[in-house]
């Protein structure tokens, strides 16, 4: 079952095309990542999904229902954590969450219960009465997440939720995304931090100039570029090396000697480093360094578009 289905989605501002005939579907239980440079059209897409921007052309379906025609249904089932903080600094943390949850129609004891639950979830359970003014950037972000999840939406959209916050809060947020996902939420996550997307997303779309240029799991995306990885092993006494024995190790495609180091090219999905090192020890070779170069999503992006994710 697809939680979200986007068909031929287009957004133009004058003659500038921000989102260009985009097609994609997010399946139930996925953490779907949008990876792209600044200005690639990620936020525009998200704003259209969450009905903040009018759709120029195409359609978006949430749980099979058109979000324009069934706008209320869509709003009830989407929770959005926008790129810019959307909390009231003068209201306490509790009031903020209960205000947003109230907008979704929660009332009375249910409202109270869900508000507390959401605050507890983001680790602000002891900060009910505190004003966001006194919060750090990360805590504000977490409060923002609490506001988005209190009404228990089916789909949570997080637009660059880790921009400008400390590493600790960042880890906390990444973990809570995983936890939300385990609780049955589907998540759309945008970022231009490749590491984050690689860590938490089950499926990823690489977006550039308003188009999806590649889509799939991170393994599939890397496999577009290459199926191999390179392992560089720095060695002191290379003459003892038994090259044929190295070539015989499963997964190894080629072995090349360079000065002071040996380069092993092997199939990407196989982890044979243990065997390689055992062989080197058997040959009584002195290892000075080991470095593995597998393609990451940044390389994929760079290779396909010719540009870096961050300028």
């Amino acid at each position: 079952m697809n939680v979200l289905e986007i068909r031929n989605l287009t957004k133009t501002f004058g003659d500038f095309i921000a989102v260009d005939n985009m097609n994609l579907s997010v399946r139930e239980g996925e953490i779907f990542g949008f990876l792209g440079a600044n200005g690639a059209g990620k936020s525009t897409t998200i704003n259209m999904i969450s009905s903040l921007l009018r759709i120029t052309k195409g359609e978006v379906r949430l749980l099979g229902k058109d979000i324009v025609k069934e706008n209320k249904f869509a709003k009830m089932n989407i929770g959005i954590v926008p790129q810019d903080l959307a909390i009231y600094e003068e209201m306490t943390a509790y009031e903020n969450v209960s205000f947003f949850a109230g907008l979704y129609g929660l009332r009375g004891s249910l409202l109270k219960e869900r508000t507390e639950e959401a605050l507890e979830f983001v680790g602000l359970g002891d900060k009910h009465k505190a004003l966001p003014k006194s919060f750090s950037g990360g805590m504000k972000r977490r409060l923002n997440i609490a506001c988005a999840i209190a009404h228990r939406p089916k789909l949570i959209i997080m637009d660059e939720p880790t921009v400008g916050i400390d590493p600790q809060s960042r880890n906390y947020i990444l973990n809570s995304v995983k936890k939300l996902n385990q609780m049955g939420c589907s998540v759309i996550y945008t970022s231009h931090y490749m590491e984050e997307v690689e860590e938490i997303c089950t499926r990823i779309a690489i977006v550039d100039h308003g188009k999806i240029i590649a889509e799939g799991t991170k393994e599939q995306l890397k496999s577009i570029i290459t199926d191999t990885k390179e392992t560089w092993i720095g060695v002191k006494n290379a003459e003892r090396l038994d090259l044929d024995a190295l070539k015989g190790i499963p997964g190894v495609n080629a072995v090349r000697m360079e000065e002071q180091s040996v380069k092993i090219i092997s199939r990407g999905e196989i982890n044979n480093l243990n065997w390689v090192i055992q062989q080197l020890i058997r040959d009584q070779v002195e290892i000075s360094s080991v470095e593995e170069q597998a393609p990451n999503l940044e390389t994929v992006f760079l290779t396909l578009t010719g540009r870096n994710l961050r300028d």
């Binding site: 003659d15 100039h209 999806i212 590649a214 496999s223 570029i225 199926d227 396909l304 578009t305 010719g306």
Partner: protein
């Protein structure tokens, strides 16, 4: 939708009849005539469904009749008027607001105690009319959509069959070129060797009696030449692999060379990866997109150099045309870019146009490795 109008009329007529009967004075023959003539005219409307003009005429006639009866016989007849008015608007394809106003006009002319009933009847009919209108418009829209989809399908089928024809054609061309090359080589190398050997053997036969030593030497030569010829045949056959990939990249090189010669722009071609993986159809797309992109560079870019790059990645073919011109902050999609996108899409690929550092058009085409 006719059934709804008919139902509406029938219901109203029944009500009118019921009210007139239950009135104290009973029903006069004139009223009976009125009912029947109303029925006649209104039954004619759906029967004439093929001719809109007559339908409209019928509707107008019915409206006039109803108005007439209302003034001469019984004001209750006025209840039948709004349906006819809405029907007229619907048939003549007029505006909604119009219909609403038209329906309200008789309100001025009827007695106070019947105004309320009239209002009710008119608004119910209006509701029905609106519903029908929305319905009809939706149906028309769906019809139009169906039509555009059909046209799209036709266009796609056409381009598909054209592509298939192109594949067949290029396969044939490759075969033809290969055959020419093969016959050329057989003629040049094997043919000459065989002719040489034959001459030597002829000579040795003549010398066999007179000078056996010389004859045996010539025969040895002939054997050596034949052996060499055989070796050449083997080599030629071994070298026989079809060269679609060479054709593709050669054509691109040729294009780049011609381009540099004809314009004040340096064009270079680089390639990486296993070009064997590129099918003739994909080469066609790469060529056409490269031509298009370089035309753009020439027209708008103000560039002095352009670089063609064809790379075969693990699961994607990437063809880049990049110039060193001024680029563009904002890319406005013209026919050229749309054309490139359509071509790429026909092979399941995409085109990225980037104007941040010069102009750079990247065509990405996916391919399956096992093919």
């Amino acid at each position: 939708m006719e059934y709804w109008i008919m139902g509406n009329k029938a219901a109203l007529l029944t009500y009118v009849i019921f009210v007139s009967y239950s009135a104290v004075r009973g029903s006069s023959p004139w009223e009976m005539l009125a009912y029947l003539s109303y029925l006649c005219v209104n039954m004619a409307i759906p029967i004439l469904r093929k001719q809109r003009r007559f339908q409209l005429l019928g509707s107008v006639a019915s409206a006039v009749l109803v108005a007439l009866f209302a003034f001469r016989l019984n004001t209750i007849f006025i209840l039948l008027l709004p349906v006819n008015l809405y029907e007229m608007v619907l048939l003549s394809g007029g505006r909604n607001r119009f219909a609403l106003l038209l329906g309200l006009v008789p309100l001025l002319l009827i007695p106070v105690d019947e105004k309320l009933v009239y209002l009710l009847a008119a608004s119910l009919s209006l509701l029905l009319y609106y519903g029908m209108r929305v319905h009809t418009e939706k149906l028309m829209k769906i019809g139009e959509e169906k039509e555009t989809l059909r046209l799209d399908l036709q266009r796609l089928k056409l381009s598909l069959s054209m592509n298939e024809a192109y594949i067949r054609q290029s396969a044939y061309t490759i075969k033809l070129e290969e055959r020419n090359r093969l016959s050329q080589r057989i003629h040049d190398e094997v043919g000459h060797a065989m002719a040489g050997a034959l001459i030597q053997m002829e000579a040795s036969r003549r010398l066999l009696g007179a000078n056996p030593d010389k004859a045996s030497e010539l025969l040895g030569n002939a054997i050596a030449i034949s052996r060499e010829g055989l070796e050449r045949i083997r080599l030629t056959l071994k070298d026989m692999k079809p060269r679609s990939e060479e054709l593709g990249i050669h054509r691109l090189r040729l294009f780049a060379d011609e381009f540099s010669a004809n314009h004040a722009m340096k064009a270079t071609v680089t390639h990486a990866g296993d070009l064997d993986a590129i099918t003739p159809l994909q080469w066609k797309i790469i060529h056409e997109n490269a031509t298009e992109a370089v035309t753009n560079s020439l027209k708008y870019g103000g560039a002095s150099a352009v670089e063609f790059e064809v790379r075969v990645l693990n699961r994607m073919i990437q063809s880049v045309v990049a110039d060193n011109g001024k680029g563009a902050d904002k890319i406005v999609k013209g026919l050229g870019i749309v054309g490139m996108e359509e071509r790429a899409a026909s092979a399941g690929g995409t085109v990225i146009v980037d104007g941040t550092k010069g102009f750079r058009v990247t065509t990405l085409l996916p391919f399956r490795k096992d093919e």
